[in-house]
């Protein structure tokens, strides 16, 4: 529906305020508490080269973690919005194209083989490469006679993801306890150990991906209505679907490679934003980016403080939020259909 301009402005203002609040809490709270009023002082001290304990915590640990959380959240949420439009399914998320399960196989294999400890980049690189290979396999399976069929893609994604999960479980069951712990830590998704290099890498993929998504926002609007409708008005269907799947795979691949598997952000955020600011992707993508960043940062804060001194993996927090929301969506969709007599 056409949303009033003032409502859209209010929505974006609220999102920006929430992002700022979550960011300050992320910088301030944790095993070492730094009062919010000291955040800027410590950041400035770190940038000026003064290495007090608080300044180091702020500049070398929390700031890259904040930026990584924001970028990964934005990347997952915007990609979720794109995939929901392409699949015409509000329950589609980045996992649907197999990127998460595919990445898991590569990362778990590298950890299990003991190669991961040789270089910090081996696990993310393996996750990225295996994620891309999986997406390609699913894409090939879902493309028949030169046309990418959405249902075929969806079912191929489910089947290949199940196969990947089985491989991961098999590797897990064969590994000793210590390696198993390391693997589980990656599978649950986390932002610990964020580095500036990670931040630079994710920034490139997420920002470029976001710009590409924005150039296709009108096509995504039309695709969300239906493929035949889109073809009727001149959307180059196959080209748009290919471009969006490739860019989605690259964005999510980059995110998963640095943060592990973080579920549900790509499912919840675009859906909430669509309800709040409407279905138009010109606005939805921006709102999803802000909402995704805010939600992952806030989840990271919760994961740090909820069981202090234990720090949870952020994936656990997002799953605790996402699973009930997913069930709510499922029930809502079915009750809507029953109500409509379908």
């Amino acid at each position: 529906m056409r949303i009033q301009r003032t409502n859209v402005r209010v929505a974006f203002a609220v999102l920006i305020v929430l992002l700022l609040v979550a960011s300050f809490l992320e910088l301030s709270l944790g095993p070492v508490n730094i009062p919010v009023r000291h955040v800027f002082v410590n950041l400035w001290a770190y940038l000026a080269g003064r290495r007090s304990e608080d300044a180091v915590v702020m500049g070398a640990i929390r700031l890259p973690e904040l930026l990584e959380a924001g970028l990964v959240g934005a990347g997952l949420a915007t990609t979720g919005a794109v995939l929901q439009a392409i699949f015409r399914n509000p329950m589609a998320d980045p996992g649907i194209i197999g990127i998460s399960s595919g990445s898991s196989v590569g990362a778990v294999l590298i950890i299990a083989l003991g190669v991961a400890n040789l270089n910090q980049w081996f696990t993310p690189a393996a996750a990225f490469v295996s994620g891309m290979v999986t997406v390609y396999v699913i894409y090939r399976l879902g493309t028949i006679g030169g046309r990418t069929l959405i249902h075929s893609l969806l079912l191929s994604g489910v089947a290949v993801s199940s196969l990947c999960s089985a491989v991961v479980t098999l590797i897990l069951s064969l590994e000793p306890l210590q390696t198993m712990h390391q693997i589980l830590f990656w599978l649950m998704g986390g932002l610990d150990g964020s580095t500036w290099l990670n931040v630079v890498m994710v920034t490139i993929f997420v920002v470029v991906g976001f710009v590409v998504y924005l150039t296709q926002s009108t096509a995504l609007d039309i695709l969300s209505v239906g493929e035949e409708q889109a073809e009727g008005v001149g959307v180059p269907l196959q080209a748009v679907k290919q471009l969006m799947l490739i860019v989605s795979a690259l964005v999510v691949g980059a995110c998963v490679s640095v943060s592990g598997v973080i579920g549900f952000i790509g499912l919840i955020v675009p859906h909430l934003m669509r309800i709040w600011i409407g279905p138009s992707h010109g606005r939805l993508l921006w709102a999803s980016a802000l909402g995704g960043a805010t939600l992952l940062i806030a989840s990271d804060v919760v994961s740090r403080i909820i069981l202090l001194p234990i720090i949870l993996n952020v994936g656990i927090v997002t799953a605790c939020l996402g699973a009930p929301f997913f069930l709510y969506l499922l029930r809502r969709q079915f009750s809507g259909r029953m109500g409509a007599g379908v």
């Binding site: 529906m1 056409r2 924005l214 150039t215 926002s217 009108t218 096509a219 609007d221 039309i222 209505v225 239906g226 035949e228 409708q229 073809e231 009727g232 008005v233 001149g234 959307v235 180059p236 269907l237 669509r274 409407g278 279905p279 138009s280 010109g282």
Partner: protein, 252 residues
């Protein structure tokens, strides 16, 4: 001008050839005759296995999507009922091929959308979500989206299928007007009586082949209707409205 040359598609459409210029052309035939598939082929949604479909001399399936959408608008059979875009936003989608840069609507686009909404009497519903409309209203919105596209050829798959008699006739009157203005409108239609009344030309499909093509009286011969639809029917001139009518009698 639209020209079909020996078009074959799977086993659904077989050796279909036709030459259509302007006017309201009705594609009729029993269920499963291949009407919707033929329209999809004409619209470039499906690609023929063999043969050619030429629009103003260019092969439809060789044209770039946007180029094709500037010359031909296609309305699928099913208008979605779960869309949360407003009527105006949906009609604006018809201008996809004319937008600039990041999808910005030009002043010309806005004028075309306003004119389409006005012509289909949808101005009062412009800000209503499409999913909240009745089936008939959604059908009018879908036709408005085609009109907004600004093409001279419209391919409409059963445009009056879920409309009441009033809207069926008002839409067919509008399509007749457009045909008189020089549009080529190819539409699938089940309602033989209305097809006889409004269409200038008919293509009767049966089992994927053209069984008969031409003017109403030529196509709707009693023996032809009997062969294809297994009903007795007769075309006559309505003495009150001076238009052709089809009288369907007993079922065989």
């Amino acid at each position: 001008m639209l020209e079909l040359k020996q078009v074959n598609y799977l086993n659904i459409i077989r050796s279909v050839s036709a030459k259509l210029e302007t006017g309201l052309v009705g594609v009729i035939g029993p269920n499963g005759a291949g009407k919707s598939t033929l329209l999809k082929l004409i619209a470039g949604v499906e690609r023929p296995d063999s043969g050619e479909i030429l629009l103003n001399g260019q092969a439809v399936h060789e044209m770039k999507s946007k180029e094709r959408a500037k010359q031909l608008a296609y309305m699928p059979q099913q208008v979605p009922d779960d869309v949360i875009f407003s009527v105006r936003e949906y009609v604006e989608m018809g201008r996809y091929a004319h937008r600039t840069g990041f999808g910005t609507l030009t002043a010309q686009c806005r004028q075309a959308v306003a004119a389409a909404l006005r012509r289909m009497n949808l101005e009062s519903l412009a800000n209503t979500p499409l999913g909240q409309l009745s089936g008939g209203e959604r059908q009018r919105v879908a036709i408005a989206r085609c009109l907004a596209q600004g093409t001279s050829a419209l391919v409409l798959d059963e445009p009056i299928s879920s409309l009441d008699l009033h809207y069926q006739m008002s839409i067919l009157n509008l399509l007749s007007q457009l045909a008189e203005e020089g549009y080529l409108i190819v539409m699938a239609i089940h309602h033989l009586e209305l097809a006889a009344q409004y269409c200038g030309r008919l293509i009767l499909l049966n089992d994927g082949c053209i069984y008969r093509m031409g003017g109403v009286e030529e196509v709707l011969q009693p023996e032809v209707v009997h062969d294809v639809f297994q009903i007795d029917a007769k075309v006559f001139k309505d003495p009150y409205h001076h238009s052709l009518r089809l009288s369907c009698a007993t079922k065989v």
